[in-house]
């Protein structure tokens, strides 16, 4: 009998009790949550277990939920059992002020670049990663562009219609209000006097 979602869930609860939670099965893929310091323990168990055999890390990424206080960043792991051809997904949530997570590079070599990418775009600090630096963006970049607090658009442009390009306009991205209630672009802040802000 091949492995089923029910059996995986059973084994996990057997081992970890109520530390694994929020089980879901969107599109038939078993998904659950664990506390943030449990990610390695869980992956090691899934790897070593004679029955589960999740020995392949498909992908790893983060999601930013700005309204989810103290759980703003979700880190999502996709694992694959190549023998029974079954996939699972689990999430851990961390505080965006202190996004520290244990690295999975000791268990899966593939995690190296995936964690660098996650760091590059979301600023997740993978403790123990051998080379945690930017991988896709320019090295000079001083923020994490996929966090929702940063607008997608390049904020230095002045020659495009702001309403259409996410600067100012009715959306109000990248603008500041001065004390006399006029709206100016954030990049113009240096050009008005301090007392106006």
């Amino acid at each position: 009998m091949s492995l089923t979602n029910e059996r995986i869930k059973e084994r996990l609860i057997e081992k970890f009790g109520d530390e694994v939670s929020n089980f879901e099965e969107p599109y038939g893929m078993l998904t659950f949550e664990v506390p943030k310091n449990m990610n390695l323990k869980l992956m090691q168990f899934l790897y070593d277990d004679e029955e589960l055999k999740f020995k392949f890390l498909t992908t790893l990424c983060a999601v930013n939920y700005p309204d989810n206080k103290e759980r703003e960043l979700a880190i999502v792991y996709h694992l694959h059992n190549l023998i029974d051809n079954i996939r699972i997904r689990f999430k851990i949530y961390v505080d965006i002020e202190k996004p520290d997570v244990f690295t999975a590079t000791k268990l899966f070599e593939a995690a190296n670049w995936l964690e660098r990418e996650t760091y590059d775009f979301y600023g997740v600090n993978f403790i123990g990663h051998p080379n945690l630096k930017r991988i896709l963006n320019v090295d000079e970049m001083d923020y994490f562009p996929m966090r929702k607090e940063y607008p997608l658009e390049d904020q230095t442009r002045k020659d495009k219609d702001d309403e259409m390009f996410g600067r100012g306009g009715s959306i109000g991205y990248g603008t500041v209000k001065t004390s006399d209630d006029t709206t100016i672009a954030e990049s113009e802040k240096g050009n008005v006097g301090e007392e106006l802000l």
């Binding site: 896709l136 963006n137 320019v138 970049m141 562009p145 940063y150 997608l152 658009e153 390049d154 230095t156 442009r157 020659d159 495009k160 390009f165 996410g166």
Partner: protein, 196 residues
């Protein structure tokens, strides 16, 4: 039964007498066995009709450039058939396509490796202004890192537009003062890009 040929049944006779563009002779003095003109005009004429382009193609504009180089539009008619893929031999840097910020230093290095005199053509909306990619990762126009001589608008531009852009470059090359590259004004322009 005759084959239903519906085209080329009245082929045009080729007209080689009035149909070939020849460069006008520059102003000058001539007599039997000699012709005297200014050096600048001869150099301009020679340079203009033998521009070696360096294609720096990163996306769909590059595909359109291939059509421009192909037999139908044939940029070779304008003396630019010799694409070279080393910056050291080229006169014209043709930047075609989106330049990501991470590509910026590479593009600048290529520009620096070209020998003077050199010209730059920005083809398409992305190279000229970032285009639709108003984003944290894309350079908002290559003129942020290197000086540009001619911009071709379009997304992507038609091959006719590319040819028009190259002809504009030819005008610049033709009329350029031989001392321009040594002028203070030009040095200041390069200086504003941190090149000297």
């Amino acid at each position: 039964m005759a084959r239903p040929v519906r085209f080329n049944i009245h082929p045009k006779q080729t007209n080689i007498r009035d149909n070939i563009a020849l460069a006008d002779m520059p102003e000058g003095e001539q007599g039997e066995g000699y012709f005297a003109t200014s050096f600048e005009k001869i150099v301009g004429l020679a340079r203009k009709n033998s521009i070696w382009p360096l294609p720096f193609a990163t996306s769909c504009c590059g595909i359109e450039f291939m059509a421009t180089m192909g037999s139908h539009y044939d940029l070779a008619r304008f003396g630019s058939e010799r694409l070279a893929f080393t910056p050291r031999q080229c006169d014209l840097l043709m930047v075609m396509g989106t330049i990501a910020k991470k590509m910026g230093p590479v593009l600048k290095e290529v520009y620096l490796q070209m020998a003077e005199p050199r010209w730059v053509l920005a083809m398409g909306a992305c190279a000229a202004s970032g285009g639709i990619f108003d984003s944290y990762s894309v350079l908002q126009g290559i003129d942020q890192i290197i000086p540009v001589d001619v911009y071709i608008p379009g997304c992507p531009p038609r091959p006719e537009a590319v040819i028009d852009g190259v002809l504009k470059i030819q005008d610049l090359v033709h009329n350029e003062n031989l001392r321009r590259r040594n002028s203070e004004h030009y040095q200041a322009l390069l200086g504003s890009y941190g090149i000297q």
